[in-house]
Amino acid sequence: MSFGREHELHKRRFGRNLGLGLVLVAFIAIIFGLTVVKVTRGDYDPAIAGGQVSNGN
């Protein structure tokens, strides 16, 4: 069986795969960016977190 000729169906599938791929890449970029912003702002600073625990005790 040969898949040499490109069918309209292949174009559809390629478009869908490409779209999903780009969405996944964008998702990774967003999570990475959010992590950088949160960490550099000190939202997850161990010193602050430790301070909160000791205050709680």
Binding site: L9, R12, G15, R16, G19, I30, L34, V37
Partner: protein
């Protein structure tokens, strides 16, 4: 919901493209959600990191899109009957009902969790409630049950500026409630004007729109009454902290035009409307889109002016 929609209204006739899945998210409604949520976010007195703000708006948009997909899943049977919605992905046979349900549920969960992680859990809870309100209260319950469907269901479309405000402040305040009220009061005249010129659609689908249950004359009266209430609210908001001279100028001009449009609709009867193919009703509908964007745009400008004034 009929068996047709349970079984996927829609026997899939061709393989879907990426754009068909995107269309499930109702991109045009999403643009309104994005804009009003952005105004809520930027008008708030607390500033948000630009990237966090961008992500928050994105997650709110995805949540709005998810509720659109769930709406299309549930309403596939009536979408197929109405001319305005017959080309949506499910009735068009491009996407199955089950796929829309899966996408809607997955994106709902995703958007709420990630909005909570990116900003705060109050905003995430408000987004979850908005999705619930639109899908369960409006789509599944009110839409096919009462002619007040648009009035009460309009709350779902009015929440985004409150969510944007909550992203920045972590709570609710009088300003965010005013922005909610503006969209809430705007929704009925906007949709009833549409119902007037999309005459047969709602009749055929057996959706109890006011035009179907109480007649077209009553609908015209309701459009005028709600427009008067909306004008009072919109102009009154100009004297609160979200208003100012720019907002007041925009509100005065647009509400005068909107009231004139509602009055013209009120004065017309069906014969007059048929004669010019509902020209006045169509113009009123188009004006309603400009009305909302201009009011929120003016709130945004006022917020910008306040910040500049605060820096000076």
């Amino acid at each position: 919901m009929s068996d047709a929609s349970i079984n996927g209204a829609a026997t899939q006739t061709q393989e879907a493209e990426f754009g068909d899945y995107f269309a499930l998210l109702k991109p045009r409604v999403m643009s309104l959600v994005v804009f009003t949520a952005l105004v809520g976010l930027l008008a708030a007195p607390v500033s948000v990191h630009p990237f966090v703000g961008f992500c928050a708006i994105l997650f709110i948009a995805v949540g709005g899109g998810a509720s659109g997909a769930l709406n299309m899943w549930w309403d596939a049977d009536i979408d197929a009957v109405m001319k305005r919605t017959a080309r949506r992905p499910i009735p068009a046979g491009k996407v199955t009902g089950d796929e829309a349900l899966a996408i809607g549920l997955a994106l709902s969960g995703f958007s709420v969790v990630f909005l909570g992680l990116a900003s705060n859990w109050f905003a995430a809870g408000l987004l979850a409630f908005t999705i619930f309100f639109y899908v369960v209260i409006y789509t599944m319950w009110l839409k096919r049950w009462t002619p007040q469907n648009i009035v009460i269901g309009g709350a779902a479309g009015a929440f985004p500026p409150m969510i944007g405000w909550a992203v920045a402040t972590g709570g609710v305040s009088i300003e965010s409630v005013l922005m909610f009220c503006l969209t809430f009061m705007w929704t009925p005249p906007h949709f009833w004007a549409l119902a007037l010129f999309m005459r047969k659609d709602y009749d055929n689908a057996d959706v109890p729109m006011l035009t179907v249950t109480h007649g077209r004359r009553v609908t015209r009266v309701h459009i005028l009454a709600y427009t008067v209430l909306l004008a009072v609210l919109a102009i009154g908001a100009g004297f609160t902290s979200i208003g100012g001279p720019v907002y007041l100028a925009v509100a005065l001009v647009l509400n005068a035009l909107f009231l004139k449009g509602a009055w013209d609709i009120f004065r017309r009867d069906e014969d007059m409307s048929e004669e010019d193919n509902f020209l006045v009703e169509r113009k009123f509908f188009k004006l309603s889109l400009l009305y909302l964007f201009a009011h929120f745009g003016a709130i945004l400008i006022e917020a910008g002016l306040d910040r500049i004034g605060g820096l000076a």
